[in-house]
Amino acid sequence: MSVMSGEFWFVVLMLLIAAEAVLIVTVLVMHFLMPRIVLEQYFKPPYFRAGECEMFTGFPFAIMRTVMFMRVLGFPKSGQKRGLAEVYKLAPRWYRNISKVIVFLIVFLLASTLLVALGLYLYTVIFPE
């Protein structure tokens, strides 16, 4: 299968979508593995507003809270604005490393899935069978 063929890029698109599904499941797993001490010490004012604490408690938005903390754990500098730059010290190294990969993957997979889908769609429209 040539790299230039539509079949190849369709397979790439399907793999990206499958990776997105795996990513969502992985984020769910990380949600349950989030160190409790991180939430106890930092998921409260003044780091988060009271309204934010209410909003990001319970399904499904608690998952977003996990992603936010994963970003702060993987990339400590991103937490400077909220005063969360030291949170990473409370999480084990493996959790920080996985967090870094997952946050990168969220951005990478979303962007690349949209790009590949758009490319395939435009190709199909511009060069109909």
Binding site: F10, R49, G51, F56, M64, K81
Partner: protein, 318 residues
């Protein structure tokens, strides 16, 4: 004249196995019969399709595709009963089946505007905006504790409320009835109420609205997935089943990942009604467009693969 190539029948081959191997059509596929008829027409020496012998030479050619007639679809399809509910339906259950049938065929008209409305309300009622209201109570507490003067209190209260008013824009009338933000978010004086009673009441109400919109989003995802499962069940063509499956999976997963990305952005940014609507419409459009692009791509490049059977979805959505 048809172009063809020659195929040597091997031990254990049957016509159905050859059709699956060479063209990817299983015997349950709607295109299988066309492929078999075409092979029979190229090989008139075969009298019985169930009896081919190892070592025989078969002529195989490109299967002529029946042109798919694309009918313009009406904006809202009139409910027509899908195949899976036409048999043995009790008379008293017909109404329910028609409702299910309508849902199956028109789920998009429910889930897309519903998704935009739920998303826009959820974005607008983000913690960033609701906390602006609570800030009024905090400013009042500072004033009563003597930390700020009356002038400072008035100025800070007005600027916070103006910011909220600007953010909610025309939604103000919906959120507070016929009152303005400044009239609704006020300090309670007299009546035995705590000073921040009105603020707490409105913040609580808006928080509840945010929760309803959160739940609404989850319900709509469920409705969309159920409708897709019903469509897969009621569609006879394997190709169409796969198109529905690819479209559903692509739009759902990408929509969820886009939701995660928007959530990370929203947490520290109180946004206005325009941005809320743009984000909601944008994520719904990305999700919908992703599904359509994946469907078109499958139709063009991936239709040899039977994902519905391969993933076991065919068994679930029967």
């Amino acid at each position: 004249m048809d172009t063809y190539f020659e195929y040597h029948v091997k031990n254990g081959d049957s016509l159905s196995a050859i059709i699956f191997k060479m063209f990817g059509y299983a015997s349950s596929d709607s295109r299988y019969a066309g492929a078999l008829a075409h092979i029979m027409s190229l090989n008139p020496q075969i009298k019985d399709p169930n009896r081919i012998v190892a070592g025989d030479m078969l002529r195989l050619g490109v299967i002529p595709q029946a042109k798919r007639v694309v009918k313009p679809s009406p904006i809202i399809s009139p409910p027509k009963s899908p195949a899976f509910i036409t048999k043995n339906v009790a008379r008293e259950d017909l109404d329910n089946y028609w409702a299910l049938s309508w849902l199956e065929q028109n789920a998009n008209f429910l889930t897309i505007p519903g998704g935009i409305a739920a998303g826009a309300t959820g974005n607008l009622m983000s913690p960033g905006n609701i906390s602006l209201l609570k800030e009024v109570g905090d400013i009042y507490a500072e004033y009563k504790n003597g930390k700020i003067t009356k002038g400072q209190y008035d100025y800070r209260r007005a600027s916070v409320l103006n910011r909220f008013k600007r953010n909610v824009g025309p939604m103000e009338k919906v959120l507070f009835g016929n009152n303005t933000t400044h009239q609704s978010i006020r300090i309670a004086r007299g009546g035995g109420l705590p000073a921040t009673a009105h603020i707490a009441r409105h913040s609580g109400r808006l928080n509840n609205l945010a929760k309803v919109s959160k739940a609404g989003g989850v319900v709509l995802i469920g409705v969309g997935l159920t409708a897709s499962c019903m469509q897969i069940a009621s569609t006879a063509s394997s190709e169409e089943k796969n198109e529905i499956f690819v479209e559903t999976i692509a739009s759902t997963t990408t929509g969820l990942v886009a939701g995660l990305a928007i959530g990370v952005f929203l947490v520290s940014n109180p946004i206005g009604w325009g941005t809320a609507l743009v984000l909601a419409t944008g994520s719904a459009a990305v999700s919908y467009g992703m599904g359509k692009a994946a469907r078109v791509s499958y139709d063009r490049f991936g239709n040899k693969v039977d994902l519905v059977s391969g993933t076991g979805v065919g068994k679930i959505c029967q």
